[in-house]
């Protein structure tokens, strides 16, 4: 059974803005799924409909086979949502916020307290559990929303840009925590602007743009579609003559840095052979951009080239 099944979902806002144009999407149970798209693409509207915060104009969304429209209560019991914006009462204590959320899902108060302690400790927030939540930092507030979303131990966890504006150390600890949750059996749907995050964590990905899904496949398959990769080559000594290799575009960024854009059909060996012949010594090499990011830019910007 799919954790999420979306069929022909449309949303037209009152100001006639079409946010979703008949979206179809499936997320398998146990998956770690990335939903990518530029701002205004329809990601948050889609998540809003699935979590019942937004009413769909037409179409159907099902969570573990339960219709969000026809059986909202049962469908919602399966979902934990970490929204993009902070939406807890900042005058309440983090512990109370998590315990109360458990209550709204029918978790008995004693059990909700135990789980609140567990998740707040797991997310390194226990020392802040009984202080005012408005004094938490941005990263702490996001972690608090993850603890809140987990208190009823949902089967589907939806995170809408959970690591936006969070420093790298906290981001990595959040990745670790979410990966553990996924490994324990919870299906995870993640929207993010950090495409490295999607590439490292997710198994499958959908790219949404202008209210429609333009790509829905595995991360591995998607990366396989990358036709050209750009490498940055750091040279030991300044180079004066730009090497010429058939089929490979080489640009000199500065005297000791070259950028080589290499189609998949070409071999890297040819590049190195030519460089060696010309006496150019490469001391290190790296991808210019995150690979998924590069692909994303092409899909969203000039979709025809890949799609």
């Amino acid at each position: 059974m799919n954790a999420l099944e979306v069929r022909d979902l449309r949303k037209v806002y009152r100001n006639d803005v079409v946010a979703l144009r008949g979206v179809n999407l499936s997320v398998a149970e146990g998956d770690f799924f990335a939903l990518l798209g530029p701002n205004g693409a329809g990601k948050s509207t889609l998540i809003g409909i699935v979590s019942s915060l937004v009413n769909a104009t037409s179409g159907e969304a099902e969570v573990f086979g339960i219709s969000v429209r026809k059986n909202r209560s049962r469908a919602m019991a399966q979902i934990g949502l970490v929204p993009q914006e902070v939406n807890f009462n900042q005058f309440e204590k983090p512990f109370d916020i998590v315990v109360n959320q458990g209550g709204y899902y029918g978790v008995p108060r004693r059990l909700a307290r135990e789980r609140a302690e567990y998740y707040l400790k797991k997310l390194s927030l226990w020392d802040k559990a009984f202080g005012p939540s408005r004094q938490l930092s941005g990263g702490m507030k996001r972690r608090l929303m993850i603890a809140r979303a987990m208190v009823h131990e949902p089967k589907l966890l939806i995170l809408d840009e959970p690591t936006a504006g969070v420093d790298i150390e906290i981001r990595r600890s959040m990745w670790k925590f979410i990966s553990e949750i996924n490994a324990a059996g919870t299906t995870v749907i993640l929207t993010t602007h950090y495409l490295e995050e999607a590439e490292n964590l997710c198994h499958n990905v959908a790219i949404i743009d202008h209210g429609g899904i333009i790509e829905n496949t595995s991360v591995k398959t998607l990366l396989g579609k990358l036709q050209v990769e750009t490498f940055v080559l750091d040279l030991r000594a300044p180079n004066r003559t730009l090497p010429e290799v058939d089929g490979i575009e080489i640009v000199q960024r500065d005297p000791t840095t070259l950028e080589a854009s290499i189609p998949k059909s070409r071999s890297l060996n040819r590049l190195f052979r030519v460089l060696e012949e010309q006496g150019v010594e490469v001391i290190s090499m790296r991808n210019k951009a995150n690979r998924l990011e590069e692909l994303f830019m092409r899909l969203v910007g000039i979709g025809e080239e890949v799609a």
Binding site: R72, S73, Q78, Q101, G103, Y104, Y105, V107, H152, P154
Partner: protein, 261 residues
């Protein structure tokens, strides 16, 4: 294992909303419980002791005693309405109402939780005002059942009215307009300080169109045994308003008016 939905889920959800509301009311007691008691004490001092001495009797009852049910009703109405508007609109404004909207709880449980919170505050303030009134006029009770049921039902009706106000409110000003320009005048003209029989000609008939008049008089019957209107009609009016406002509240909440996009 995820949580499934059952009657137990709803009961736990209802209790959670109520506990949260009661905790909020008690946490900010200098704002929620004390001001209405001070205001009512001033009413008893000025209208009861100072002016009341010159008025003498109203409807065959000492004026101080006559105004006690009306002032208790005034505090119940304003606190029931005010609690739900500030709490529910505050949750909407701060977006934490989303915590409930994404939960499995159906609209009627959410409504019941907020209405119960408003009733807790209204009846607590009503009880405190009754204690203050006892200091000025002594304690009296004609019919406990009528007194408690009228207070209970009135708190429900005005909590529902406040809930609808909070749903439509876009800014904090919107939750102050109705209490100031509608509720307060209706309460003062609803026979809190006078018997409706004292109104000249047509004004008596106009006053009978005011639902608060029935609530004040029903409570006056419960406490003092006198009323300008029939008790049956008073219950009918209160239940009718309760049913209408309850249905509208549930409809708005189910449709997500002002809450869901």
């Amino acid at each position: 294992m995820s949580v499934d939905v059952s009657a137990r889920t709803y009961w736990t959800g209802y209790k959670t909303i109520l506990i949260k509301e009661v905790t909020r009311i008690l946490r900010i007691w200098p704002q929620t419980l004390i001001p209405p008691v001070i205001t009512m004490t001033l009413y008893f001092v000025i209208f009861g002791s100072i002016i009341g001495r010159r008025v003498g009797e109203m409807g065959g009852i000492d004026y101080m005693e006559f105004i006690v049910p009306g002032l208790i009703m005034l505090s119940v109405i304003t606190n029931s309405y005010g609690n739900i508007t500030s709490s529910f609109f505050g949750a909407k404004f701060g977006k934490h109402i989303e915590e409930l909207l994404i939960s499995p709880l159906p609209p009627w449980i959410i409504l019941a939780g907020y209405v119960s919170g408003a009733m807790f505050r209204a009846l607590t303030v009503g009880f405190l005002v009754w204690l203050v009134a006892g200091f000025f006029s002594g304690f009296f009770m004609n019919n406990v059942l009528v007194t408690l049921s009228i207070l209970f039902l009135t708190a429900v009706v005005f909590a529902l009215g406040g809930f609808i106000n909070a749903i439509y409110a876009q800014k904090f000003d919107d939750i102050a307009i109705i209490p100031t320009f509608v509720l307060q005048p209706m309460t003062y003209l609803g026979g809190v300080f006078f018997s409706v029989g004292l109104l000249p000609g047509i004004w008596e008939q106009v006053a009978l169109g005011n639902p608060i008049l029935y609530m004040v008089n029903a409570l006056r019957y419960g406490m003092l045994g006198i009323s300008d209107v029939s008790l049956g009609l008073a219950y009918f009016m209160i239940l009718l308003f309760g049913a209408i406002l309850g249905s509208v509240s549930l409809l708005l909440l189910s449709r997500g008016t002002g809450l869901r996009t």
